[in-house]
């Protein structure tokens, strides 16, 4: 079992034999990534007519998720407070696997119903692909969350 005293709230990133606080990497990388994405948004003209304001809004909105993404990629989970050593052997892992397997079926069913609806209704030909893909993501997230909670309550 890992020593408790080496674990911190946000954990550490491992580079060879060195360990660096993960946030010390995530925050600057998140700022850079958020800025780059906001510049892409401005360049593509989706940041609105006021490029400075739009770019700033995009940067502010994207920096936090970009920071957390970098953190999730670099952190060594054995350095996190509260993290168990063998998550794959815990029951939560089984719940997630069962929920994810069921979600696959839910997404296929939703896609079938969606195609049927778009075929029947006259406005189906004008369906926005962005909304459709967003709907697929939303159904996936909702399905796995609901199935996970049901399994948790059942156990």
């Amino acid at each position: 079992m890992s020593e408790v005293k080496t674990r911190t709230k946000w954990g550490r990133a491992k580079f060879g034999n060195r360990q660096i606080p993960a946030m010390r990497i995530a925050i600057p990388c998140g700022l850079v990534l958020g800025t780059i994405l906001s510049l892409v948004a401005v360049w593509n003209g989706i940041a609105g007519p006021n490029k400075s304001l739009g770019g700033t809004v995009f940067a502010v909105c994207l920096t936090i998720p970009a920071t957390m993404l970098v953190w999730a990629l670099v952190v060594d989970r054995s350095s996190l407070q509260g993290a168990v050593d063998l998550p794959e052997q815990s029951i939560e892992s089984q719940w997630y696997q069962q929920a994810a397997a069921g979600t696959q079926i839910d997404v296929i069913l939703a896609a079938i119903l969606g195609v049927l609806a778009l075929s029947i209704f006259p406005s189906g030909n004008n369906a926005d692909p962005k909304l459709i893909l967003g709907g697929v993501i939303a159904i996936s997230i909702a399905s796995v969350a609901i199935r996970y909670q049901l399994l948790r309550r059942k156990t």
Binding site: M1, V84, L86, P87, Q89, S90, I91, Q94, T155
Partner: protein, 65 residues
């Protein structure tokens, strides 16, 4: 699968959290195993048996039909 995990844990005066920490799993995992609602993986079953200095057969039993 039925088991004697709860009895052995209590004989050592360990809480469920303590046992979970010793095994490197979550407390919910221990709760579910003791209630017979979760069968541990083979590696985990061996770790449990080693922790209590028992054989697996002395801790886990198939359910009676």
């Amino acid at each position: 699968m039925e088991n004697l995990l709860s009895e052995h844990r209590k004989s050592m005066e360990w809480s469920q959290q303590r046992l979970a920490d010793e095994l490197g799993v979550t407390r919910q995992t221990i709760i579910s195993i003791e209630r017979g609602r979760f069968d541990p993986s083979l590696p985990l079953a061996f770790r449990i048996a080693a922790l209590f200095n028992k054989r697996i057969e002395e801790l886990f039993f198939p359910e009676k039909d």
